[in-house]
């Protein structure tokens, strides 16, 4: 436990010293400022259009708020993914090739300990980051548009879970691939997951069972996508009627919660990814 703490703290200290967090904080502030500007403009436009009274039972501010926050969640997950990938892409093979890993592993530290420590540090930072940015975006939406999501804690946790899975995939990838190849691979997997989710939403709108099946399978194979979809669904979990219909027709509207098995599967998936990474790491000559 002490070695896990030491290596995790070392990883965080490295990110601090290399000013990773400063850069991330500055870019996040820029993102949130731009998001605030967009949100303010969007709600102004909704108010000016007089859409509030056009259709009975439709709440345009809810549609606007949910769509904007959905967009922010996409951006947040993307930023969290970048952070996760850059914190872990060279954790094993990259560090070993640079000669940084060997001095640590000749200490009484198992390879499993090193993997767990690197995962814990990166997942904690990235998870906290996406949760914080999501809550900040929700607060901005509420302050500027007066709309608050139906759920706040659940989607924050689901986004954190999604980014933890991406962290685990990136860490596992670092065992088998060189840093650059790993970074590319993880972003492609991330993109594939998001495309599958979008296909699912299109399939839902078109009533295509095939697209729906493809999206569902992809979501189970890449549970970060399922968690992201569940988080999107959670922000309008209690919304019904015409407003629900309008949200469903929007770019982030077709998202569906995957049910009670999602979290157990995500935990099992993390375990499986960890086992594969450990098996590969144990076989690797350094």
């Amino acid at each position: 436990m002490s070695a896990i703490r030491t290596i995790a703290a070392f990883g965080l200290q490295e990110a601090l010293r290399r000013r990773v967090f400063v850069v991330v904080a500055l870019l996040t502030v820029a993102f949130l400022v731009l998001y605030g500007l967009g949100t303010w403009q969007a709600f102004e436009a909704v108010e000016d259009s007089g859409a509030q009274d056009s259709i009975d039972g439709l709440e345009p501010s809810v549609v606007a708020g949910a769509t904007l926050l959905g967009l922010a969640m996409f951006g947040t997950l993307f930023l969290g993914t970048i952070l996760a990938v850059f914190l872990t892409l060279g954790a094993v093979r990259g560090d070993a090739e640079r000669g940084l890993l060997q001095p640590m592993l000749v200490r009484p530290v198992t390879r499993r300990t090193l993997l767990i420590a690197r995962f814990v540090a990166a997942a904690a930072v990235c998870g906290a980051y996406v949760a914080a940015v999501f809550v900040a975006a929700a607060v901005i939406t509420w302050v500027l548009g007066g709309w608050w999501p139906d759920r706040i804690v659940t989607p924050a946790l689901e986004l954190a879970g999604a980014v933890a899975i991406i962290t685990a995939l990136s860490l596992a990838g670092s065992v088998f691939l060189a840093a650059t190849a790993n970074g590319i691979a993880i972003f492609m997997v991330f993109g594939a997951g998001l495309v599958a989710g979008l296909l699912g939403q299109i399939g839902e709108a078109l009533g295509s069972d095939t697209l729906d099946d493809v999206a569902t399978t992809a979501s189970w194979l890449l549970p970060f996508e399922a968690l992201y979809q569940a988080a999107l669904a959670a922000i309008t979990a209690d919304t019904v009627g015409f407003t629900r219909l309008a949200i469903d027709l929007g770019p982030f509207g077709g998202a569906e919660a995957s049910g009670p098995l999602l979290w157990p599967w995500a935990a099992l998936y993390l375990g499986l990814v960890g086992l594969v990474a450990l098996a590969g790491f144990n076989r690797r000559d350094l």
Binding site: I7, E14, R18, R98, L100, Q102, P103, V106, V109
Partner: protein, 288 residues
């Protein structure tokens, strides 16, 4: 009940293959407690592979390696070890002191600031405790690497080319350090290309060529007689194959034959000669 003390490092029929390349082809070695053991061999001979297997960084294809009786790579073996890799790097953003703190924590050392100050002073970096690794010369980093390897007072030190980046003064410091370690009873496996250095400090030496031990023994054992040089009125001549014990007889015979003998010198091969003979490089490496 009889207890036997396990050797500091024991390697039995150790083999390692990387695909079709055989890095080690059945190495047997035993390094005793407190011994300073030199590992010699040309590039690609398998020396670093052997050291890495002992550290648990590389898995053997066959055979076994044990450190203080524990399987190489096990936590018990790692607790007993200190290691400096040939190609190492420390995080540039850490100061010398912070690097040692990190390794103290990983090694479970309770030495604290006293141990760190002592180690840095020992390698001549007492004034550079707060200096960042990234601002240090390669030689300073190598000395820091030696200090890092000594964190937690390991009883076995594996040093892979510890003086490759050092200037003559730095090498002398390391030589002195190795002698100090020997006086403390620390076992050292020294992997080096610097034969004169190995000859000066090591108790025993093994020469590895092509993944096999081709010669082993004390530097004196490896330095075989080359003959006796006799200086007479006719000039100097060498009686090849003769040793120290033959010198009086040779002198007697020469005197009996009416020659004046002005000087006698017993010639022995240096470790370098033995090494070059073992690796077959005395002629091959000579430039045209």
């Amino acid at each position: 009940m009889l207890f036997t003390v396990p050797p500091a490092l024991a390697v039995t029929d150790l083999r390692k293959s990387y695909g079709a390349v055989h890095a080690l082809r059945g190495v047997d070695l035993e390094v005793g407690e407190g011994e300073l053991f030199g590992l010699l061999g040309p590039n690609g001979a398998g020396k670093s592979t052997l050291v890495k297997i002992a550290c648990g960084l590389v898995r053997p294809s066959a055979g076994s390696a044990e450190v203080i009786g524990a399987a190489a790579g096990s936590l018990d073996a790692q607790r007993a070890l200190g290691y400096l890799a040939e190609l190492f790097r420390f995080p540039e953003w850490l100061s010398a002191d912070e690097l040692l703190v990190l390794h103290q924590r990983l090694a479970g050392s309770t030495g604290g600031a006293t141990e760190r100050a002592e180690l840095l002073a020992l390698v001549g970096l007492g004034e550079a405790a707060q200096r960042r690794v990234g601002t240090m010369s390669k030689g300073m980093q190598q000395r820091l690497g030696i200090a890092q390897a000594m964190v937690g007072s390991p009883c076995v030190l594996l040093l892979d080319e510890p003086t490759s980046a050092l200037d003559p003064a730095g090498r002398r410091t390391v030589r002195w350090l190795l002698e100090e370690l020997r006086s403390r009873g620390v076992t050292v496996l020294l992997n080096s290309h610097l034969l004169s250095e190995v000859e000066l400090v090591c108790d025993r030496v093994a020469i590895i060529v092509g993944g096999q031990v081709v010669a082993a023994g004390t530097p004196a054992e490896l330095s075989r007689p080359k003959g006796v040089e006799i200086e007479t009125a006719a000039g100097a001549r060498v009686v090849e194959g003769a040793g120290r014990a033959d010198a009086p007889r040779i002198v007697r015979e020469l005197v009996a034959a009416g020659e004046e003998v002005y000087g006698v010198r017993v010639l022995t091969s240096s470790l370098e000669d033995s090494y070059l003979e073992a690796v077959g490089g005395d002629e091959a490496e000579r430039p045209a």
